[in-house]
């Protein structure tokens, strides 16, 4: 019974996702259709043609406003704060609605339409050149990030409180759901990869795991304030990998460096005069962490792109004939349900893998002889 309920919930979610996308794109078709009839002068970029790439990339990439849907050619978006600092104009804070979806410029700033900074806010200098100011805008991803942070803090502090309140008693409610995960990270990830000194790194690993896990899951929910592509934005895993890298470098023991620069058991001619092995070992130190970034980023982006690709199918077929569009939507929704289930798994696995590898790297750094 419970399983049926869950499947129904997923179906509803997938349905909502489809609907929100449908409403986001269909009116565009309508307006372009009416544009053909009335030969109106609505300046659409791609009139009469559904651009799958634009739709997918528009979702996957960051933006200055949170697009909800488009009704009769009008974009309904939630404007987000733009925070800019430039040498000439100093600090500027305003809402992204000032740009009117990128059509207008404001205070000498505008969203570049093409070139190196396409889609980003640029400052137009006196000689007409576009330069990039320091852009600390709370973009869609940043807002989703802050939302997930608040959620994370709220959930775990309330769980901590229930631990304090129900001392020595069996776990209850949310506590019951999170406890196995916490114990799993503690026993199977931290303790087994780091060893005795795991307790020092456990708070970091737990934060890392739940941060990635929550953001991955929120990415699957298609309604604001979730649904942004947070862990699929490369800046996010980069920062987390930087944390792991810093911890590894700071806490590394002597043996770790010896193993890199003068690994024992390697013939001397591999180290001198050309330090082949040391170079490989040293670069692997960075490559490991770069791969950590790419693994998480690519998995999450791929999930989003595939899901959106299925939705794009509806509109590509819908342009050929309305019936084909409706027909393909059944298959699309079935696939999306399957994909969402898969993505739930991926959400967990990627959080786990990132945490496990971080723990392993820390464990390697702490090793004192084989």
């Amino acid at each position: 019974m419970k399983q049926i309920k869950q499947i129904l919930l997923l179906l509803v979610l997938a349905g909502v996702f489809t609907l929100s996308l449908t409403s986001a794109i269909e009116p565009k078709e309508d307006s372009s259709a009416s544009a053909e009839e009335k030969s109106a002068t609505e300046s659409e970029k791609t009139p009469g043609h559904f651009d799958a790439e634009e739709m997918i990339m528009g979702h996957v990439l960051d933006s200055y406003e949170w697009h909800l849907l488009t009704v009769n050619g009008k974009h309904i978006t939630v404007p987000l704060p733009v925070i800019l600092y430039s040498k000439d104009k100093g600090l500027n804070i305003f809402m992204s609605s000032r740009f009117h979806h990128g059509h207008e410029s404001y205070k000498g700033f505008r969203i570049a339409e093409e070139g190196k900074y396409a889609g980003k806010i640029v400052e137009v200098t006196d000689d007409g050149q576009e330069i990039r100011p320091l852009d600390l805008s709370l973009t869609k991803t940043a807002v989703a990030l802050i939302f997930s942070v608040i959620l994370l803090l709220w959930i775990f502090i309330s769980i901590a409180n229930s631990y304090k309140k129900r001392k020595g008693q069996a776990p209850h409610g949310l506590q019951n759901f999170m406890e196995p995960l916490i114990i799993f990270i503690r026993d199977e990830v931290a303790e087994s990869s780091i060893g005795e000194k795991y307790e020092k790194y456990l708070p970091y690993l737990l934060t890392l795991f739940f941060f990635i896990f929550f953001n991955n899951l929120l990415g699957l929910i298609p309604i604001i304030p979730a649904g942004a592509n947070v862990t699929g934005n490369i800046a996010i895993p980069i920062v987390m990998a930087l944390f792991t890298f810093t911890i590894v470098v700071v806490s590394a023991k002597k043996f770790f460096w010896i193993d890199i620069f003068n690994p024992p058991g390697v013939p001397w001619w591999l180290k001198f005069p050309i330090p082949l092995i040391p170079v490989i070992e040293f670069s692997s130190l960075f490559i490991k962490h770069i791969v950590l970034v790419i693994r998480l980023f690519a998995n999450i982006v791929a999930g989003h792109i595939v899901a959106l690709g299925f939705f794009a199918l509806i509109f590509i077929f819908g342009e050929m004939s309305l019936l084909a569009g409706y027909g393909i939507s059944v298959i699309t929704i079935a696939f999306t349900v399957f994909l969402t289930l898969l993505e739930l798994l991926v959400a967990f696995i990627q959080a786990y893998v990132f945490t496990l590898l971080s723990a392993l790297y820390i464990g390697l750094a702490l090793e004192e002889g084989h």
Partner: protein, 164 residues
Amino acid sequence: MELVTPEAGLLFWMLLSFTIVLIILKKFAWKPILNSLKEREDSIADALQSAEKAKEEMKKLKADNEAVIRQAKAEREKILQEAREIKIKIVEQAKEEASQEANKMIELARVNIRNEEAKALEQIKTQVAELSVDIAGKILREKLADTKEQQKLVEKYLKDIQLN
């Protein structure tokens, strides 16, 4: 390309929010959660250990009890055996005593009977003697009713006495 180019602003926000999350969660969430998890695990381990101990003790107690019961049973058996023996002895003794008593009584009865017999015989003897004297008297009286005769007899006795 934009996909794989990190944005400075987002890097900044991520760095900031991740640091904040890490610090706050470490202090207000992980510490109490991990502490109470550990506490609970310890208390469960303690409880299990003491349960094991109690089990062991129970086993020991049970073994003790069994030994006591076994002993008690053996004792009971012994007592019963003794009682049985005593009973047999008592019965035997009683039988012997009874037979002795009976013998005594029989003996006594015999003696009594004998005495009675003798007494009865004596009595019969005297009675017979009396009766015979009586009869003799009566006969004599009859016979001596005639004075002649009486004279004759007295003379006869007198002759006998003189002879003596």
